[in-house]
Symmetry: C2
Subunit: 394 residues, 2 copies
């Protein structure tokens, strides 16, 4: 068959304020278009070293086995699970949203004997919630999501890590939405396996999954009795490509790596602490603005992620109309609810380069217009004034 030619590529300009992909820094877009070299070119091998060094800085780890998986964040999840789990191994998965659910599925496919521990959506896990399951399941691995993109809940990890290690298990963490927006302390918190995605607070298009494995995790992987079920994600082979031997494994995604390289460089130029502060401030401003017009968060107070603001859709307001209006009249993308939150929440991303005053104010102004159109009762201008109040405060 022959196809008639489709239209030339001409994507509309969007303000990406959903759950990711987030706003891409123009320097990252330019980096993607840099001239391609081979995956075994001396220049590229040097770039891989620098890339690893920057990813270690972002993850705050000395782990030698720190690299970018050549696929999106979900493959990052799969890479950590399938390398650590052998058929029949016991694994606890903490579930309080879509991505915990996904991890249960991934772990089951890897042959894990999965014990799931559930918490209501929007809430987080306290160490006490895990004690019984740890004693009963005697897990090899405990998996938990640090920043639940479906609910906006920010999971503290330090105490849970202690508990998990006391029980002799390895800690596996989903940091897809967390990395770059809030502190992720791999070494200090003794995280054994962690993955992220390029398209959230790193402000790079989707396509790569930064990941890191502790020496303890690597030892488990190198002493497996069975082969890792995935050839593509087998860390024992990836270690030889990313390690000093540079043994060819698969053809690396060169230009995506250029993009992630530039993205990491931008974060380190700004400084991570400064970036975290910026994420927090813009979150506070957005939250103040939303509160001023009666919109509440779906995640528990004190555990709200700065980069992913999941809020209840006000009663009587048409979800699709607001999101459609944002997209079509303003070019603004926000996310709808997933799973149990479908039709009930909006997910507003302030991630990486997208975490900016201008975006907060633009969004609030546009939202006010669309709410007013639907007859929502509130004082017009209140959200912008409240957000500016946060910015004006010292």
């Amino acid at each position: 068959m022959t196809a008639s030619l489709p239209a030339p590529l001409n994507p509309p300009v969007r303000l990406l304020m959903g759950p990711g992909p987030s706003e891409i820094h123009p320097r990252v877009l330019r980096a993607l278009a840099a001239n391609t070299v081979g995956h075994l070119d001396p220049y590229y091998l040097g770039l891989m070293n620098d890339m690893q060094q920057m990813l270690r800085a972002l993850f705050r780890t000395e782990n030698p086995m720190t690299m970018a998986i050549s696929a999106t964040g979900s493959a990052g999840m799969e890479s950590t699970v399938v390398n650590l789990i052998e058929p029949g191994d016991s694994m606890i998965v903490c579930v309080n949203g879509v991505f915990g659910e996904r991890m249960v599925d991934v772990a089951g496919r890897a042959g894990a004997n999965v014990t799931r521990v559930d918490r209501p959506w929007g809430e987080v896990f306290e160490p006490s919630h895990l004690k019984e399951a740890l004693a009963k399941a005697k897990p090899k691995v405990v998996g938990i999501v640090m920043a639940e993109t479906s609910t906006g809940a920010w999971q503290p990890l330090e105490e849970i890590s202690q508990l998990v290690h006391d029980a002799g298990a390895l800690l596996l963490v989903d940091a897809v939405t967390a990395l770059g927006g809030v502190p992720v302390e791999v070494d200090k918190w003794k995280i054994d396996a962690i993955y992220s995605g390029s398209q959230k607070c790193l402000s790079c298009p989707p396509g790569l999954a930064p990941a890191s494995f502790s020496p303890a995790a690597l030892e488990v992987i190198l002493n497996r009795k069975t082969k890792v079920q995935s050839w593509y994600l087998d860390v024992s082979m990836l270690a030889k490509y990313w390690g000093s031997e540079r043994v060819y494994h698969h053809t690396a995604p060169i230009n995506m790596t250029y993009g992630l390289y530039e993205a990491a460089r931008i974060i380190l130029e700004e400084g991570q602490e400064a970036a975290f502060g910026r994420h927090l401030r813009n979150h506070q401003a957005l939250k103040a603005g939303l509160a001023a017009i009666g919109i509440r968060y779906a995640s528990a107070e004190g555990h709200q992620l700065p980069m992913l603001n999941a809020v209840h859709i006000p009663a009587g307001i048409d979800d699709a109309k607001v999101r459609g209006g944002l997209l079509n009249c303003f070019g603004i993308e926000i996310g709808g609810g997933l799973g149990a939150f479908k039709g009930k929440v909006w997910r507003i991303g302030l991630m990486g380069h997208g975490s900016r005053q201008t975006n907060v104010l633009t969004f609030l102004g546009a939202l006010e217009q669309l709410l007013a159109e639907q007859g929502y009762k509130f004082e017009q201008g209140a959200s912008v004034a409240a957000a500016n109040g946060v910015y004006l405060a010292k």
Copy 2:
């Protein structure tokens, strides 16, 4: 830890004449840098439809389940194998190079009972080579590589497909290097599962794996007794995202898809027959040029791929010196040998946008200079004259 900032991104300009990545068309590089939209944006969903339509045209198939796997070609291999194979299933893998070897490994990890049929490197399979194994193994799936990137051998498929289907098996084909450079007739040849890579004759950077599944393959997948071991590559879920339901699965690699979209468009603009003719002509010119200075092909006569020219390194010539000279003095990358061919062959790619007269002549001129430096005995200028002879012939 904090890292000092690495150097700004500044890749050297290379002429990519290795086994891939190949030369990227400038339009594709520009497409990569187009402004990112969300993976559920109406524009992106429309783009996915057009992308699928173009991939169907390239694969010459009506298969609804035709899409791009969100990872590199090796994940494409894994996607076809893990979806079709359940633990204990019988699978025949044809091995005459590195990528057949890889498929054996991947199939074993998926739990297949693998029967390997071997042929010497550089040669291809005749139907007669498979008859005994088919009768004995009664396979569910037969896997074969159409264009063995490690040897340059071009595997005919039509008769083997007939034989495989007569035996009641499904045919799984590696077309990583084939697609876009030689005809790949998925429907006519009744291929059940096929995958390729973006970085060969499609002239797009590595990162995506076009793939297609026949209705028969899809039926097998949808009637599995066990879940596909890989969540990320599970075609039953991918079918819902790429199908009309558009159920969110993973975050698609937006900008890489832009690149592949533009790359496919460029091929369809030229016309596939014209592209195949161009690949053949440049191959003939290169071959004539190399023959004129005594360099022979490593793959069997009559089965030499036009886009991947694997040739014997002449006796007494230092492999590393020539490849290093090409890279450092001319900016030309060619590939060394892999596996059994390590140190014995060069692999010269003339793929996609890289299959051009200028590249053939540049390469021959540079090679002559480097061979002369090592005291190789030949008539200087002979290779270029011979290549031009092919171009000048009607």
